[in-house]
Symmetry: C2
Subunit: 460 residues, 2 copies
Amino acid sequence: MSDAKIDQVLDHLDAGLPQAIDRLMGFLRIPSISTDPAHDGDVRRAAEWLRDELASMGFAAEIRDTTGHPMVVAKTPPGEARPLLFYGHYDVQPVDPLDLWDRPPFEPALEDTPDGQVIRGRGASDDKGQLMTFVEACRAWKHAHGALPEGLTLLFEGEEESGSPSLVPFLEGNRDELAQSLALICDTGMSSDGRPAISTQLRGLLGEEIVLRGADRDLHSGSFGGLAANPIQILCNALAALKDDTGRVTLPGFYDGVEELSDDLRRDWEALDFDAGEFLSRVGLKHPVGEQGRMPLEMVWNQPTAEINGITGGYTGDGFKTVLPAEARAKVSFRLTGTQDPARIREAFRAHIRAHLPGDCSVEFHEHGGSPAAVMDTSDPAFEAAKTALSEEWDREAVFIGMGGSIPIAGDFKRILGMDSMLIGFGRDDDRIHSPNEKYDVESFAKGARSWARILATLR
Amino acid sequence: MSDAKIDQVLDHLDAGLPQAIDRLMGFLRIPSISTDPAHDGDVRRAAEWLRDELASMGFAAEIRDTTGHPMVVAKTPPGEARPLLFYGHYDVQPVDPLDLWDRPPFEPALEDTPDGQVIRGRGASDDKGQLMTFVEACRAWKHAHGALPEGLTLLFEGEEESGSPSLVPFLEGNRDELAQSLALICDTGMSSDGRPAISTQLRGLLGEEIVLRGADRDLHSGSFGGLAANPIQILCNALAALKDDTGRVTLPGFYDGVEELSDDLRRDWEALDFDAGEFLSRVGLKHPVGEQGRMPLEMVWNQPTAEINGITGGYTGDGFKTVLPAEARAKVSFRLTGTQDPARIREAFRAHIRAHLPGDCSVEFHEHGGSPAAVMDTSDPAFEAAKTALSEEWDREAVFIGMGGSIPIAGDFKRILGMDSMLIGFGRDDDRIHSPNEKYDVESFAKGARSWARILATLR
């Protein structure tokens, strides 16, 4: 694309920013809380709003019903360029506790803050504001080119904040239609130092619940203490033995598939100047734990973890009861990296727990999901091209970053549709997503749309 | 006392058994549940019933108010023989769950069972039936001798099942009046092999609650896992390290004061033929745990323990949350033997937990009681005399046994009144005290009263 054309697109975005913000405000006024059945009608209204908006721009847009909330699918005609799938979600988180909001969550407004102007309201950042950056880029593109970018498929989900129950069946049922050469996902953030970022690896997640049983009833610790097995003690012993003194997980084969950082990524991550002490100090902590001798970002993005997310057993109310309990429970999760195999790690974990059981105790396991890490193939030239486009737009060098969390959609796209995802988003650490007073920086919205215009230009 | 006299007492007990059972039934009909304020009037009524019964027999009996439920104190004139204090409690446990009772808990009845006749009803064994064995022995004594036994002080409490809040102040406030040369307590059981028993040692009890705190809020295990301290993991590590592989507690100095069994006691306990496997099989277990190489009864009665009575942290509801929690809590108790010092062990335990804390975590401890073991001085000739009397009555050799649990009153008598306690009771393992369908064997009631008559004869 010529420089003149992209400049036209960007100029149009700049000139139309007030109108773009107005449109977003309209979208934000629809309380599309997907987890609350009382808002089912609102969720549908948000889908219709999006469908109408896209149709008015020239997309072939339609609502596709599922057994839950509907999908919105919009397409442009195929062309020469590689076909792309863009994903976002139009549902939002609940607003509780409502009394902590400084304004009604679904009456969005522009606010001036010491850090610049923000759009305040539920969904501003997660994900209505983010997805609209792409939509506005398309609108400006059409204005400059006379037509929408070719070969686009847009997929908008209405259940992301409630576990996406309909997504996998929908992908499986529409494989041919949805499988493109690359997915673009706008639901992530910038680097914490403010640089534009592409998230190229996400940790996987494996959840296990353990129910460890001893006696067939709660016992009196006076009558039985010293003779009878205590399930809490056994559970503590087994969970303590899950890591050695250096913080490494002791399960046999656990680190199979964990890959050392490439030199390129190490350089990118080191350049982020991530200050673990400062990061931890925000939540009242000081010292990075975990395996020693690794850089902190490596621990969060490229190393696996084993964490106890919950534990309960015996008497936990006020006061004291000298009970020797019949059972104890724990929820344990593993964040996975590289090609670690969730199924093998689940088996190793169960074997580890069983090895700690006396002969007269039993254990029951409940599976709570297991997905491998998603590591994108950044040799796809789109990644370097997008990085360059982002660097130009933000006038700061864009970086490839990792994510400590897990975004199942990226794994689903890979597994079901066979395509990698390029995760680019403009959220900030202080956007308060999922919390009261959510906001999205006007800069993120404006430069986000400009960023997508530049990225589309490099890929079209 | 002449054989003729004791025979008269015993004959009178036998002849009067139906009337004695009737009296107990009247006592059992009063629902004196001390923990439930709705029954405050009933608790007082039970105290009055007892006071009236004792007064009608010739005791100088009175109700003594406290800030809680009243005490009943009854006395006979001093004489030549050593002064004795008898203790029992007239309050009972709640009856929930009511629907598991086969008959209304406060409408007691005689029932024929394959193991003999029983008195069924709340309080039949714990402790109304037991305390009445002593009262009935006194009644028969008076019939034979023309006067009650000399030098008796009877103390009946109405708050034993609700933590005895008034007991210590009452003992402290009436030291001179209540301190006698020996206490008789009827609130324990026979040996599990059916032999009469004197409990000569009770384990002490020390309770500690730990609140371990990390971050100042719950964290997302994706964003922070690998960097932030997990209080559950730290707690598990510390609690697992509380014992070594052989089951011994690792706290420095923990075993100071634990005494090896005397040859005499070892002989008595070995003669009990306690089958740990059978005992554990009743609650669905098989294998004795704890320190290896010791006889099972020694583990329960003469060795200290460390037990985790409760633990909680993080997400414990249905499903799964990948939270890295801000805090974790545990309740831990120690059963103490010999002269183990609760205060020193508390300090050692706290130091142990603190030693496992990273620098950015904190811990808070809540004290839940601490009392040393009560080990009776069985060189007091009353013990051998009572053993002989019990052996004669039951035609089986009586034994000195230990108790795994703790009966604070014995320690209170020792500490505040400076006297040992002789714990003799006739409860059975299957009496279902604190549970629905509580019962007391008619044999226990009848031979219990006869046992006290014989014991009084040896001590008068």
